[in-house]
Amino acid sequence: MRKSMRTPTHVATVVGLLAAGIVSVAAPAVAAPADKYLHVKVDDRANSGTVNVNVPLPLAEAILPAINNPELHDGKVSLHDAQMHGVDVRAILEALRNAPDNEFVTVRNKESDVRVAKSNGNIVVHVTDKNDPRQRVNVTVPIAVANAFFANAKNNQLDVEAALRALSDAGDVLLVTVQGPGQKVRVWVDSRSTQD
């Protein structure tokens, strides 16, 4: 009788310990999403060599609100009216968010081709230098990030802190590539701490 009372207790203890072990191993993987890193790679081997910068986004998010000067305050950058050129960026972003994927702006002149499009939830800008087709600039900004710049900011402000948070929540994204003869610049966000 005593033996039969003990057995369920032992089984329950073993099962409990196993469950606790599984939860303790699995919980961090489920609960804590990996930190995102902002990477910058400047490759100018012909002249100045290479520069690689890797910044954990939570680190940038922590530092930004602590910087207070006339231009950057509470994680928000102040813009002068002249920099906005009277453009209602909020209205443009709202229109873009509701629009289907499309190429919205195409500018072709003697010097360059510029294309602005919406693609898979991103605003994409391509610039190609016609005099030297090796010189190209590609910029990709997730619309959620672009919205975050303006969502809680005043008219003449950019909310950089909110944009960083939105960038953390967005998937891996190649933000900027600049290519020139012998030079390359890449800015991207992913979950890896290295650039390998």
Binding site: D35, Y37, S48, G49, T50, V51, N52, V53, N54, V55, P56, P58, L59, E61, A62, I63, P65, A66, I67, N68, S193, T194
Partner: protein
Amino acid sequence: MIVLGKIVLGMAGLGLAGAGVLCSEGLVEVHVVENEPLGHHIRIDAPAILAPIAVRLAPSRDLAQAACAIQPYMPAIRAGLAGLRDSGDVVLVEVNQPGKHVQVSKLGRAIVVDVGDAGETVHLSVPLRAISNTIEELAATSSDTVLQKGT
């Protein structure tokens, strides 16, 4: 004989405890290697706890300018150091030029700087806690200086 043994044990214990306190904040490591035949190889491993103590003991008038200059940046520095403590190991900056290499990384609980060129390689490792305590001590010097001027 037994008394002597107790004294030796006590002193050894004191020495161990002292070493433990000294190393409680880790070590500042400085390694310099000259890349040439018969070049110097310098290695200094100093207790990191000495850095804030050195700032505290230094004459405040000599640190006043640096202490005042650092004040506006203290909130950002505090936030940055706290963020670094929480982040994983990462190479923060890496610069490669012909014949030169600079790398600044966060490794464990320390900031590690490696600089190498044709002449020498330098390795510096400073625990984050020591950086934090030293900067706080420096910032406190500024308020001490202001108080002294006030009186």
